[in-house]
């Protein structure tokens, strides 16, 4: 009897230990997949970055300085190109859906700036038409090849790479995919990688606009 009870206690103890190990393992796996700081859906930068002071040309043909000419309380910056079939449409379409859900009070305080990494093909007209497909409020900027490289350097993203053109003159452009969020103190503490969902934006944007500072 005593042996049976002892076995029972031992078995329960072993069972609990196994459950604890499994739960611990699951927690470890979950934390291993989560690269964001608690509560923030974007990727918090290890070091804050200053909003780049570059001037390019907007789709009306006017000079546009990223710091002086953005009017909202949050500037979102992305480099891409209008022939992009995969990354850019999903990124812009998802952000637009989130802004629509959040409403004008939030959307009006956000400046989405899309800088073309393919200025040769992306004329101001093409850039404007492309962005209007998402939002007439999205800002399109274009520079010379040299200005575009400088802008990427200042934004601390890798420079885009243009593939060689094929027989039809078509080429792809490799580009950084994150959207960088500069708050109204001119500092970015968080970026949003490709794959950020509308729900993620809807959680983070109001917090960023409220002046919360993401920290790792």
């Amino acid at each position: 009897m005593a042996d049976t009870e002892g076995n029972l206690v031992r078995n329960v103890a072993i069972g609990l230990a196994v459950v604890a190990v499994v739960l611990g393992g699951l927690a470890f796996v979950a934390s291993g997949n989560d690269t964001s700081a608690p509560g923030w859906r974007g990727r918090v930068l290890p070091e804050a970055e200053t909003e780049p002071d570059f001037t390019l040309t907007d789709t009306s043909g006017d000079p546009f300085n990223l710091i002086e000419d953005t009017t909202g309380d949050l500037t979102l910056l992305m480099f891409g190109y209008t022939n992009c079939p995969d990354i850019c449409p999903i990124s812009l379409g998802t952000l637009k859906a989130a802004l629509d859900d959040l409403g004008a009070d939030v959307a009006n305080r956000v400046d989405m700036v899309f800088v073309t990494a393919d200025p040769d093909r992306d004329t101001p007209e093409r850039l404007r038409t492309y962005l209007d497909g998402y939002s007439t409020d999205f800002i399109g900027l274009r520079g010379t090849a040299e200005q575009t490289e400088q802008a990427q350097d200042l934004a601390n993203v890798p420079r885009a790479q243009l593939e060689d053109a094929d027989a039809d003159g078509e080429y792809a452009v490799g580009h950084a995919t994150q959207i960088i969020a500069y708050q109204n103190d001119g500092v970015a503490r968080i970026v949003y990688p490709f794959g950020t969902r509308a729900e993620d934006w809807k959680i983070d944007l109001p917090r960023l606009l409220a002046g919360e500072h993401p920290s790792a």
Binding site: P89, G93, Q161, A172, V173, R197, A198
Partner: protein
């Protein structure tokens, strides 16, 4: 000696397997096709191709939507997303080729009109060995595609 025997057995089984893949008729089924409701003239079709037969390869696609389709592979290299054209995408025996956002996809170029969520486009997939495969692709809101991306 045992190690040698194991190595021989492995080699023989690998050769058998490779032989089977080439000899057996491929059998490819498509699932979860989708394309985003892009306002622009370039889009990407995503689909999963499962091959329960012998080796095959996707070598192209055509569309009823009056647009060009080409195979593309997207890779993340040193922080930038690089997309390159591909002549073929292998679908080896017993595998599933997953065309997903941010990865390999069928690039649709020169769309004559924007794709509208709720509609469909019909595409035909061309394979090295299999017969053509027709797939009806639902057009979905772009934000739905973000849900398919694994971070």
């Amino acid at each position: 000696m045992n190690a040698l025997r194991s190595a021989v057995a492995l080699t023989v089984s690998a050769l058998c397997c490779a032989g089977c893949g080439a000899d057996v008729e491929p059998h490819i089924t498509a699932s979860n096709p989708v394309v985003g409701a892009v306002p622009g003239d370039s889009a990407a079709v995503y689909v999963e191709l499962e091959n329960s037969g012998g080796d095959d390869a996707l070598i192209g696609a055509t569309c009823d939507c009056d647009a060009e389709i080409s195979l593309h592979v997207t890779e993340d290299l040193d922080g930038i997303s690089i997309m390159t054209g591909a002549d073929r995408l292998d679908v080896p025996t017993g595998s599933t080729l997953e065309l997903d956002p941010g990865g390999s996809h069928l690039m649709v170029q020169d769309l004559q009109s924007p794709l509208t969520a709720g509609s469909t486009i019909d595409i035909t997939l061309h394979f090295e060995r299999s017969e053509d495969l027709s797939v009806t692709v639902p057009v979905v809101p772009l934000e739905d595609l973000a849900e398919r991306i694994e971070n």
